[in-house]
């Protein structure tokens, strides 16, 4: 018997990368006729969405749905989950999948023309649900520990600079969280973490969206106090944005692999304080290697935005579809390659990923990176 072993060399020189393969689940069931065109992950106010196309060619069966009936099948509000396929047991083979996008169908565009019949579906992440909820009223803690929702009052945290949160938390629909205090009872200041938790617990049903514990939020916001924040009449998304802005943090939505629990989570983070990823471009004259170059196109716009302290915006494309860049990642360049992002020249600034677009049609990933003054991370 010959135990011949083929080695995988650490440096890959060929471009023979397989096209990314993903699965689409419609309301939890395998959907053979939808294929993704693009997936976008972004920050406020865009957030995440996916565009998919009806493609009968991807399906070998005969039970196809006609374009006239497609709207009944792809009804608005149905859940869409896009999963990436991977081998979970190398060197053996055990094909598994991990969710990379979860959302609900927001629109279906159907057209019949010279180019043929076309159906495009757009699914939005949980931000679309939060946009539809309007913040109003206050939940007030009663003396006996119960709480009551008062619609007529405005939702103002620490009104006129005075604390108006109840000292003790209240129970409501299985959640225990800080609510507003009665006029005559003891009060304390709302922290950004408590205000954020109040909004999430008050307006969302438990299990709809995974969220971090209050202790994690307090740590991330460094226990900052809210100053006279009026969110009355705002959408829940906008209200959360204002709370996070006060605390100097951001939030995004992410797909989670959880059986029997919410498939989406809200993730709070500090821009640029996440993990560090490298984007490299070889120097001119070197032999091209995809292990050393993951930038194929790049454009830089320099400007100065005083409010956000952004000094440059960089649009970048990778030579292949890469799934693992995330919004909030900090970007650097290796010492061996070109300093195309300017991270080595400008040691007073940081570069962070603001938007990620997975382009399945052209099999590449587009990144929007912003360079900003170091905010003391």
């Amino acid at each position: 018997m010959s135990n011949r072993i083929d080695f995988f060399q650490p440096v890959e020189n060929t471009l023979a990368l397989p096209a990314a393969t993903i699965l689409v689940l419609l309301d939890g069931s395998l959907c053979p006729y939808l294929e993704p065109i693009e997936i976008v992950y972004s920050e406020y106010p865009e957030f995440g969405w996916a565009k998919l196309a009806y493609n009968p060619a991807a399906y070998a069966g005969g039970g196809l749905i006609s374009i006239e009936d497609i709207e009944a099948e792809l009804a608005i509000g149905k859940s869409i989950c896009i999963r990436q396929i991977y081998n979970n047991s190398a060197p053996d083979v055990l094909i598994c999948s991990v969710p990379i996008f979860t959302g609900k169908i927001e629109s279906v565009e159907t057209s019949i023309g010279a180019d043929g019949e076309k159906v495009e579906v757009t699914a939005m992440d949980f931000s679309a649900s939060l946009k539809r909820i309007t913040v109003c009223g206050r939940r007030v803690r009663c003396e006996d520990g119960s709480s009551v929702f008062v619609e007529d009052l405005d939702t103002i945290f620490n009104e006129d600079g005075e604390g108006n949160a109840a000292v003790e938390s209240a129970e409501n629909q299985g959640n225990s969280y800080t609510v507003f205090a009665e006029e005559s009872s003891a009060r304390k200041f709302w922290s950004c973490a408590e205000a954020t938790e109040y909004l999430l617990c008050e307006y969302l049903t438990a299990g709809d969206l995974q969220r971090p514990a209050i202790e994690q939020l307090q740590s991330l916001t460094e226990n900052r106090i809210v100053s006279n924040l009026d969110v009355t009449g705002m959408s829940l998304l906008e209200a959360l944005h204002h709370c996070c802005e006060e605390a100097g943090i951001k939030f995004k939505f992410a797909a989670r692999f959880m059986q029997g629990a919410a498939g989406e989570a809200i993730v709070f983070y500090k821009g640029g304080a996440g993990r560090i990823v490298e984007l490299n471009c070889q120097r001119a004259g070197q032999r091209f290697s995809i292990s050393k170059t993951n930038v194929s196109k790049l454009s830089v716009r320099k400007s100065f935005n005083v409010a956000s302290e952004v000094t440059a915006t960089i649009d970048l494309e990778t030579p292949y579809l890469f799934f693992d860049y995330r919004v909030g990642d900090r970007v650097t360049s290796g010492a061996d390659g070109r300093d195309v992002l300017g991270t080595r020249r400008d040691n007073k600034g940081i570069c962070r990923i603001e938007r990620v677009r997975l382009d399945f049609k052209n099999q590449c990933t587009n990144l929007r990176i912003v360079r900003q003054r170091d905010v003391g991370l």
Partner: protein
């Protein structure tokens, strides 16, 4: 030199690893493989690779590596081998990317390569009492290309009969595949789909799906009353 090899140095290099790495030549004082080296490890599974003991080693640019002759490979067993590179200073890479699985059949020979198992098998009862099976095949890291898929069932009783396929669907590429059964009587049915290559060798997947067939029509409702609102 990596801390991993220091215990071999403590015994003047007179250890199994020390002999293979050449540490014994300097009584454990110096790293002798200044050109770098490849080392081979073995285990019963990827989680049980014995990285404490080097099986054998080869030059850094060697195209192949062979386990020592004293390593026995028993019939009906599976072995995993991992190769790691060690640099000129004795630092070892920490990846598992260069790994291979060796499965031996009952005859002691290497098992023939098989296609991958199918993925995301779903079953649904159609209006006519037939069952529609839908699955996906992904050729990631496949050892042998499939030619077709065999469909098996238990016909409503017992275990799945893997001896007699009830249908065959040809493989035509990276697509979704479906199969419609004959009209079935009410009961609980098990279905399984296996990919089969040109040599007639099937994947060894035991994935199956259970579907209850209900042929009874739902009872009509009685309208107790109605009013305009």
């Amino acid at each position: 030199m990596e801390a991993k090899w220091l215990k071999d140095s403590l015994f003047n290099g007179f250890t199994s690893n020390g002999w293979k790495l050449g540490l014994v030549l300097s009584q454990g004082w110096f790293w002798y493989r200044i050109a770098g080296v490849m080392v081979l490890y073995c285990g019963q599974s990827m989680e049980q690779i014995d990285f404490a003991n080097i099986l054998t080693l080869a030059a850094k640019d060697a195209g192949q590596i062979q386990p020592p002759v004293y390593v026995k490979h028993e019939s009906g067993s599976t072995y995993f081998y991992v190769v790691r590179m060690v640099n000129n200073c004795g630092d070892e890479e920490q990846t598992m990317s260069a790994a291979v699985k060796i499965s031996l059949g009952d005859d002691g020979e290497l098992k023939p390569p098989r296609p991958n198992g199918i993925f995301e098998l779903t079953a649904k009862q159609s209006l006519s009492g037939k069952v529609r099976l839908l699955w996906f095949y992904y050729p990631l890291d496949q050892k042998s290309a499939p030619k077709s898929f065999n469909i098996y069932t238990n016909n409503g009783t017992g275990e799945v009969d893997y001896e007699n396929a009830i249908g065959t669907i040809d493989y035509v590429g990276l697509r979704f595949y479906e199969y419609y059964s004959m009209e079935l009587a009410a009961g609980e049915y098990l279905f399984a789909v296996r990919a089969v290559n040109a040599g007639g060798i099937e994947d060894e997947s035991l994935v199956r799906i259970c579907l209850g067939i209900d042929t009874a029509s739902p009872q009509g409702i009685e309208i107790l009353g109605s009013k305009a609102i």
